[in-house]
């Protein structure tokens, strides 16, 4: 569609060079070649068409096919067979969806709370603030695999922190929090919090800087305490940033598989398998691309639906100030 538009309008602006007349650039747009914006978005557009849009479409296509490398004799059009199987005959789908929801809600709400607290904290003026900021934000830059590396050393039953805690009389020896189905959830939650809180802290701190200082002064003149200032000035100001960052983070936490893949592999006994992890196992290890594609499609629809619902419910961008 990109090439068609300039062709249709090229006649109106014959012989124009890139030296457009200043001041009339927007609006009619007749002063600059119509082709320029299309040329500018072409690299990004083509890359995204080829490596995002095409794979997405092929996932939709495969979701209607039987396509299993280990059972090639069944390959072919499947209609809605895969989807029927997802919804009626797959307890693993339901389990992983439930765990995904639990995982995303727990992570995002805890990360938001801690990140907000942290941002308010390092927004104060105190000695050593720059160093403190750098240190508390540093896990932001750490990858899922590196997080796994670090926390495996900490959780290791014979050499990890629990051993030293046991030496000091706290807990028991030989506790492996990652292989016990009772403790594994909070173990992975804490691990992901370690890496995830700085994201919120950075975004919220950035937004805090733009709250006009005189609002606080006026409020304190009127006798409003710190809590009321926070509720009536800070929170409304942060509202849009919080809504957007929680949404981005929720999608990211839902989709992200690096940490769980390397830390628990979805175990023990599958209790930390998120939907994407289940899909990855089905597609990559089980070689059942058709079924994995149907799961992906379902995951995508659920994600989109939840996001729209969230934006509606939270009245994003609405004038609440």
């Amino acid at each position: 569609m990109a090439p068609a538009a300039p062709a249709a309008t090229a006649a109106k602006t014959p012989g124009r060079t890139s030296r457009g007349a200043p001041g009339r650039r927007r609006g009619t747009g007749s002063s600059t070649p119509r082709r320029l914006p299309y040329l500018l978005i072409a690299p990004a557009g083509l890359l995204m068409l080829g490596f995002i849009a095409y794979p997405v479409l092929s996932v939709f296509y495969y979701s209607l096919q039987h396509y299993n490398v280990t059972k090639p004799w069944r390959d072919g059009f499947a209609g809605f067979d895969n989807f029927t199987r997802v919804f009626t005959d797959d307890p693993l789908f339901r389990d992983s969806l439930v765990f995904s929801a639990k995982w995303v809600v727990t992570e995002v709400s805890l990360q938001l709370l801690l990140g907000l607290g942290l941002a308010l904290l390092v927004n104060q003026t105190f000695v050593g603030r720059a160093v403190a900021r750098a240190m508390v934000f540093s896990p932001w830059a750490v990858s899922g695999v590196l997080t796994t590396t670090i926390w495996m050393l900490l959780y290791n039953p014979s050499t990890g922190v629990s051993r030293y805690l046991a030496d000091a009389g706290v807990g028991s020896y030989g506790t492996s929090v990652l292989s016990d189905t009772d403790t594994v959830f909070w173990a992975v939650v804490v691990t992901e919090l370690w890496r995830g809180v700085p994201f919120f802290a950075i975004l919220i701190l950035a937004d805090l800087q733009s709250v006009p200082k005189d609002l606080y002064e006026a409020a304190s003149v009127d006798g409003a305490g710190r809590l009321r200032q926070f509720v009536h000035i800070t929170l409304p100001h942060l509202k849009d940033a919080i809504i957007l960052s929680t949404l981005l983070r929720a999608v990211w936490e839902f989709n992200n598989v690096d940490l769980l893949y390397t830390l628990t592999g979805g175990g023990p006994a599958g209790v930390t398998t998120t939907l994407p992890l289940y899909v990855a196992n089905t597609g990559i290890e089980g070689h059942d691309f058709g079924y994995a594609s149907a799961l992906t499609t379902v995951a995508f629809v659920i994600l989109l639906f939840c996001s729209i619902l969230y934006l509606r419910l939270s009245k994003f961008g609405g004038d609440s100030r």
């Binding site: 500018l40 990004a44 590196l146 495996m152 050499t159 950035a206 597609g283």
Partner: protein
């Protein structure tokens, strides 16, 4: 203000009757606490606790990387570099490091250049597919890269790019682009058009005006976007895992994963590998963290 404070102060400490009010003490305390003056312990105590949570894991990794195998000392002394030598040479982290660096820098450059061009178009022009393009950028945020692995693998196989770093660079760039374009177009919108127009009047071409006027002002934003791209591609794991199967093509996260999954995990080697993985991003982070905050507040997400 003083009057208001005195009034509320009086009301709260209102003495029974007749006794003269001594407003000095409460008034002074209130005045110092009036704005955002928070008692020091209310800052340092929670901050100290959180720093403990953040830093102990890093320290733990350094400890394992620097102390001899079998030691249970809580201080890495005497320091040994045996684990680093082992990981760097025997476990080919030297090669992985080179590959990761190559992927990271290439992704940084391609992402920044392509996003600059796309971001400029979004910020400065109205054109027919603009809204559709914006929508595509936003929607792509919902697409899980992990779930695109199989179709992407097939594409790269058809392009005969499996086992070449280019496949990873392309995939990283593509999934980094949407957010980068949105961010950069936000930064460009913050640069007044009049500055560019003044340059055009002086006879600059659009490109020259952009380079001379807009680009210098975009520095904090470009640093934020570029470092995002570098850090993400340095850290990202699944694309490299899927597309690069030859040992000498793999990247640091894949190497780490191999160490994690080894039958008997060599904790010293694992920790040393972790330190090697951490050093570049920690340096980048230390360098950019101030720009990160200003970069974001410069308009970023608000578009």
């Amino acid at each position: 203000m003083t009057a208001a404070l005195a009034e509320t102060g009086d009301r709260r400490t209102a003495p029974p009757a007749g006794t003269p009010v001594t407003p000095q003490a409460p008034r002074r305390r209130r005045r110092t606490r009036a704005f955002d003056e928070v008692p020091r312990w209310q800052i340092y105590l929670p901050l100290g606790l959180y720093l403990l949570f953040t830093l102990v894991p890093f320290y733990w990794m350094l400890l394992f990387a620097l102390r001899p195998a079998g030691s249970t000392s809580l201080v890495p002394w005497p320091v040994t570099f045996e684990h680093f030598e082992k990981v760097w040479n025997e476990r080919s982290f030297g090669v992985f490091f080179q590959n990761s660096m190559l992927v990271g820098l290439a992704t940084l450059v391609t992402t920044t250049v392509i996003a600059l061009s796309g971001g400029y178009a979004l910020a400065r022009f109205d054109f027919r597919v603009k809204n559709a393009f914006m929508l595509a950028l936003l929607c792509s945020q919902f697409i899980p890269g992990a779930l695109m692995l199989v179709p992407l693998f097939e594409i790269f196989r058809n392009l005969r790019m499996i086992n070449s770093l280019e496949s990873v660079i392309i995939a990283e760039t593509v999934f980094q682009l949407p957010l980068s374009i949105i961010l950069i177009s936000g930064f460009i919108k913050n640069v007044p058009v009049s500055l560019e127009e003044a340059a055009w009047v002086d006879g600059c071409s659009r490109l020259r005006a952009f380079r001379a006027v807009v680009l210098p002002l975009l520095r904090p934003g470009l640093i934020a976007v570029g470092s995002f791209a570098f850090v993400h591609s340095w850290n990202h794991f699944l694309f490299a895992l899927m597309f690069l199967s030859e040992q000498d093509k793999q990247t640091i996260p894949v190497g780490l994963n191999t160490l994690i999954g080894a039958d008997s995990v060599d904790l010293g080697a694992l920790a040393a590998g972790g330190v090697i993985a951490a050093v570049p991003v920690v340096i980048v982070f230390a360098f950019i963290q101030k720009w990160l905050i200003t970069g974001f507040s410069a308009g970023a997400v608000k578009g």
